[in-house]
Symmetry: C2
Subunit: 365 residues, 2 copies
C-alpha cells in the first residue's frame, strides 16, 4: 500500500492533517520510514478482517512533547527493543503491528518497526486522529486492557507499567518520560485479533494516504483548501468537513510543561473583522469565535497553509502565516457518550460539552 517515496509523502501529509496539529512532526516520521523502507523493503499492510481472532497485535508509538520529538527521533534499535520487550512480557509471539494513532509521527513509526521486523501492519488505529494522552483511545473506551505498557529509551532503559487503569498508566508514563529525555518509545493495549476487529478505527492508514494524495493533487486546482475539504467530505469518517476561518496567524503562545505542548493561537481574517482562537495540548482542542465554541475535540481541528493546504502542526505555528482553519467530523466509534467521557472537551479542562462542529451556528467569514 505504501511502497514508493511518493506514497510515503502522501501518507505522512495525510497523517499530519489527521494529527489535528499534534502527534509530532510527520516530516521526521517520514524520513525514518523512508530510511527503513530503503534498508528493509516496504512492509505489508493488511486489513483487520484478515486477522485471526486469537492473533496478537501490538502498537508502536513515541510518547512525549512534540517539541522534543522534533529534535530526538528514534534509532531503530529502540523499536526492536520495544517489540522484544513487549513479546517477552506478554509471553507470546507478536503477529502484527499497528499505529495507536493515525496522526503525526506515530502514523509513520509503525512503518519503521514493520519494515525492520517483517511483521505485517494492520490498516487501522485507535483514534482516527491523534490525542495527547494514552487513555484517549477507543480500546480504553470499550474496555481493553492497557497493560502491559512498555516504554524504552535510546539508552536501553525499559519500564513496564501495569497500572489499575489507563489514566493512571498515562500518569506513570509521564513521570517516567522525564528520565527518558522527554520522549520515549511506547507500546500499550496489546490486542487480540477479535478485539482489534471490534474496537479499532479501521481503514485509517488508507484514508491518511488518500487525504495526503488529495492535498498533493489539489494543488493543481484553483483552490487547494477546497479540494481538501471535498476529499474529506467524500470519506465516511471525516464528513462533514468545513472551513472555519481563513486568515493570518496574529498571535501564538506556547509552553512545554508536564511533557506536553500547551498553547493558544489566534487566526484573524485579512479584513480584521473576524478571528478564531485555537487552544491546544499537543493537538488542537477548540476553536472559538468571540468566546463561542465553533468546534471542539474530538472533532478534528486542523490548520493548513492557505495556498497549498499543507498541514501545519501546533509547534510550527508562526506569526504571519496565511492559513485556513478547518474542522471535520470523526468516526462514529468516537462520538458515543462512552467515548466523549474519555476524550470529550471536559477531559481537557474545557468548560463545555462536545459541540459537533456542523451544528455550531456561529457566523463564519
Amino acid at each position: 500500500m505504501i511502497n514508493t517515496k511518493q506514497d510515503l509523502q502522501d501518507y505522512a501529509r495525510g497523517a499530519a492533517l489527521l494529527g489535528a496539529g499534534g502527534g509530532g512532526d510527520p516530516y521526521i516520521g517520514r524520513l525514518l520510514a523512508e530510511q527503513a523502507i530503503d534498508a528493509y523493503g516496504a512492509p505489508t499492510v493488511i486489513q483487520a478482517e484478515a486477522l485471526d481472532d486469537d492473533a496478537c497485535i501490538i502498537s508502536v508509538a513515541m510518547i512525549g512533547a512534540p517539541t522534543v520529538l522534533m529534535e530526538k527521533a528514534c534509532s531503530g534499535d529502540d523499536l526492536d527493543h520495544l517489540l522484544e520487550a513487549m513479546a517477552r512480557h506478554l509471553g507470546k509471539k507478536v503477529d502484527a503491528l499497528m499505529p495507536i494513532e493515525i496522526g503525526g509521527v506515530n502514523s509513520c513509526l509503525p512503518l519503521v518497526a514493520a519494515a525492520r521486523t517483517g511483521l505485517p501492519l494492520v490498516d487501522c488505529d485507535g483514534m482516527g486522529r491523534a490525542f495527547p494522552c494514552l487513555e484517549m483511545v477507543t480500546f480504553n473506551v470499550y474496555g481493553c486492557d492497557v497493560f502491559p505498557t512498555v516504554m524504552v529509551d535510546e539508552h536501553g532503559n525499559e519500564i513496564v507499567i501495569r497500572a489499575t487503569d489507563a489514566p493512571k498508566t498515562e500518569k506513570f508514563a509521564r513521570s517516567v518520560i522525564g528520565e527518558m529525555g522527554l520522549s520515549a518509545m511506547i507500546s500499550c493495549y496489546p490486542l487480540s485479533g477479535k478485539q482489534l476487529k471490534r474496537w479499532a478505527v479501521t481503514g485509517t492508514m488508507t484514508l491518511a494516504l488518500e487525504l495526503g494524495r488529495a492535498i498533493r493533487l489539489g494543488r493543481q486546482s484553483d483552490n487547494p483548501v477546497q479540494s481538501l475539504l471535498d476529499a474529506l467530505n467524500s470519506t465516511h469518517y471525516y464528513s462533514p468537513a468545513r472551513l472555519l476561518q481563513e486568515g493570518k496567524v496574529v498571535d501564538v503562545e506556547r509552553v512545554t510543561r508536564d511533557g506536553f505542548s500547551f498553547g493558544t493561537c489566534r487566526v484573524e481574517s485579512q479584513t480584521g473583522y473576524s478571528a478564531i482562537d485555537l487552544s491546544f495540548q499537543n493537538e488542537f482542542l477548540s476553536a472559538t469565535n468571540d468566546g463561542g465554541y465553533v468546534a471542539t475535540v474530538p472533532d478534528i481541528i486542523a490548520v493548513v497553509d492557505k495556498d497549498t493546504a499543507e498541514p501545519i502542526t501546533a509547534e510550527t505555528l508562526r506569526y504571519g502565516q496565511r492559513v485556513s482553519v478547518i474542522a471535520t467530523n470523526i468516526p462514529p466509534l468516537m462520538r458515543t457518550p462512552e467515548a466523549l467521557a474519555v476524550f470529550g472537551p471536559r477531559c481537557f479542562g474545557l468548560n463545555t460539552g462536545y459541540q459537533p462542529h456542523e451544528r455550531t451556528t456561529d457566523q463564519l467569514e
Copy 2:
C-alpha cells in the same frame, strides 16, 4: 531468632540505631511485624551458608521519604503483590527473602513478608546500615544486576524497571514514587545463593537484635550510652564506636524534596562551648565541628537519647532534645575504594573524601 514481642522490640531498636537516623521510623515497622507474626507465626531466619548456590533470594523494602512512611505504612496485600510480581518477572520460584538494608523500617518489612508467605529470611542485608539511594548497596558495588526492579503501591499499580544501571534505576524509581504517593514497596537485586554468600553483609539481623537488647539492658546501668558503645565495640563490624558529642538539639532544619528528607541539625554541649553540626539526606551524612569533619558516611552517625540511648531518627529530631551523638565503624566490604565510590561522602555532594571517624583528631568535649 525473632520470636517474642520483646525480641521484635529489641530488633527494631537495634535497626533504628543502624539506620543512622534514616530508613523510616522503625516503630511503624515493628507494629507491622508484630501484627504479621501474631497472625501468621514467626518467620524462620536462616544463615547465608545454609543457601544453595542456585537459590533465588529477593529483597523486600519500602522506598520513599521517611516523613511520608510515618503516615503511610504497607497493607500486606501490597507485599504479597510485590513478591508475586517479582517471581513472575524472574520466571522462577523464590526460595528466601532478605532485607536490602538493616536500618529502620526496612529491617522489619521482610519479617512481615516472610511471616505472610512462610518463606525463610536470610540473616543479612546489602548495607550493614541504611542508605537513601538504591544504588548504595554492596550488590551494586560488586557487580550484581539491579533488575528487574519491581515497585507496587497499595492500589495495585505495578512498575518494573530494567535500567542500564543502578543509579538510573534509582532515578526512575524516584520519578515513579510521586505517582505512588511518595512511598511504595520495592524489590530489587534478585540474587542467587552464590551471589548472596559472596556480597551480602551477613549476620546483620542478629547484630541488630543484639544491639537493641544491649540498649534495653544498658538502661539498668548508670550510663546507657556507654553501655551501647561497649556493645558496638564488642562487634566486629561496628568497632570502634565512640561518642562525638553530648548535649542539646539547638537547631533543626528539614525539607522534603525529590522524595527525600534533607536537613541539618546542631547539637550543642550543655556548657555551650562546643557544638556538632549534622547533615542528613534521610540518613545522617556528616558530623562537623567548627567546620571540620569528625565523621562522614559510610560510617554510621547516630543520635540517641542521652539518658536512655533510644535512637532518634532524623525526622523526629526536635529542639531541646538531650542527646548523644555517636559514630561507628562499618563492615569491611563497605570501606573498599569500590564501595566508597558508590556511597562515600562525595556521592552525597559533600566536599570531602571518606574520613574514618576513629582517625579524625579533632578535640571532642
